[in-house]
Amino acid sequence: MDGVRMNTVTSRSGLADSFLPWLTCVAMLAALAMVFLYVPNERVQGEVQRIFYFHLPSAWMAFLGFFIVAGASAAFLWQGKRSADLLAQAAAELGMVFCSLVLLTGPLWARPIWGVWWTWDPRLTMTLVLWLIYAAYVLLRVFAGDNETVARYAAVLGIVGVIDIPLIYISIRLWRGIHPKVEQMAPEMAWTLLVCTGAFVCVFTWLLWLRLRSLHLRDEIRALRQHLVAAS
């Protein structure tokens, strides 16, 4: 039975492995070219504004990761499928990576434009809290080991975390508010943003795929090892 499962994973991985890296590579090169060569400078902010084309897609990927965590967690609690649990784990780790990118690229832009690295604006605070919830989720996995019970704890935390997001948003919104909102974009800018988002979706999907497969393989190795121990 183990052999059969391994075959399916390998055959599925063949297609994604040959396709996704190239797609990601091309999309990323296109995105870089557009950001640095194609798109014109923003009138007021100048060069610095170009970081926005990586900042915003990162933020979207961080949110995407969180929604995958919530969806997969709910699916796991409902049906108890191991694959849903692994998906939640992989998405949480990736979400944290992209959330970190948002928190790194933000201050790089804020320093020359706002004059400070950090300010307690609603969206900034929100992203920081989001990062902290991700961190708790990932650390819970680390500290709690890896078994059926932990999967359930993590799923509960994932769902509670997502229910909490709108509450955090409401409370922080009521609390204070200078984050720029995009009002009007030149067509070149919109295109660049679109390509960058596409490139980030590719990176996200590819990394998610790799992580998911490594988690599945870890499961298989564990099963095989148990099998061997039982046989010997």
Binding site: A144, G161, L167, S171
Partner: protein, 217 residues
């Protein structure tokens, strides 16, 4: 459910260790702040409000953790789950006992803090117990849920605050604002108070619905 609640209360009545340790801890936290801040700063309502909540949250976290460690240590959780009752009822019993203990502690700590800080007493302070209770309810609900998860992991002392504190952010913001307004003698029953009550309701419902997934074997 009432039997579990009664058992917790009886245990505390006989040992008195939880309430007394929480009380001392809360007092110590307040003391640290008093040393760190100047007398002028201490008289500001905003500081008083922040101080009250910091002390409550950190002392409370240990208290809630303690309640569940006790159950875990002697495998009592398994016993509770074998009872023919809904896990939601176990949640409510634990949650109510935590609310009770924190309220008892806070009934002494809050007036003491106000006196130590030299904040002026006014009529609006009559609302303080209600606000504190609202904060305690939301805090205990999420705290009970997270502690039930944390006690079954390695490094449970560190994982509880890591999980609980970010989730509590909305409740903190609301509670600190309401308390600050109240201490300053302003109108405190506005939007923030309603937000606080709404968060309470949401957190209790979340805890009640998800507790079963956490404790099942």
């Amino acid at each position: 459910m009432w039997a579990i609640l009664w058992k917790d209360l009886l245990l505390e009545l006989r040992t008195k260790e939880r309430v007394s340790s929480l009380f001392v801890l809360a007092l110590l936290i307040i003391l640290v702040f008093v040393f760190a801040l100047t007398p002028e700063q201490l008289k500001q309502p905003a500081f008083g409000s922040a101080l009250l909540w910091v002390a409550l949250v950190f002392a409370g976290m240990l208290g809630i953790q303690r309640a569940l460690i006790l159950e875990q240590e002697r495998n009592c959780f398994t016993g509770l789950l074998l009872c023919p009752i809904d896990p939601g009822q176990v949640f409510f019993a634990k949650f109510l006992s935590n609310v009770f203990f924190l309220t008892v502690v806070e009934a002494v700590v809050a007036p003491l803090t106000l006196a130590l800080l030299g904040l002026p007493f006014s009529v609006s302070l009559l609302g303080l117990p209600l606000v504190l209770l609202c904060g305690i309810v939301g805090f205990s609900a999420l705290g009970t849920l997270c502690a039930a998860i944390a006690v079954r992991t390695r490094a449970r002392e560190i994982i509880l605050p890591l999980m609980l504190l970010p989730l509590l952010v909305p409740l903190f913001i609301a509670a600190v604002h309401v308390t600050g307004a109240l201490l300053a003698g302003e109108v405190w029953t506005g939007t923030w108070f309603r937000v606080l009550v709404a968060f309470d309701v949401i957190f209790v419902v979340i805890g009640w619905l998800t507790f079963g997934f956490v404790v099942q074997e």
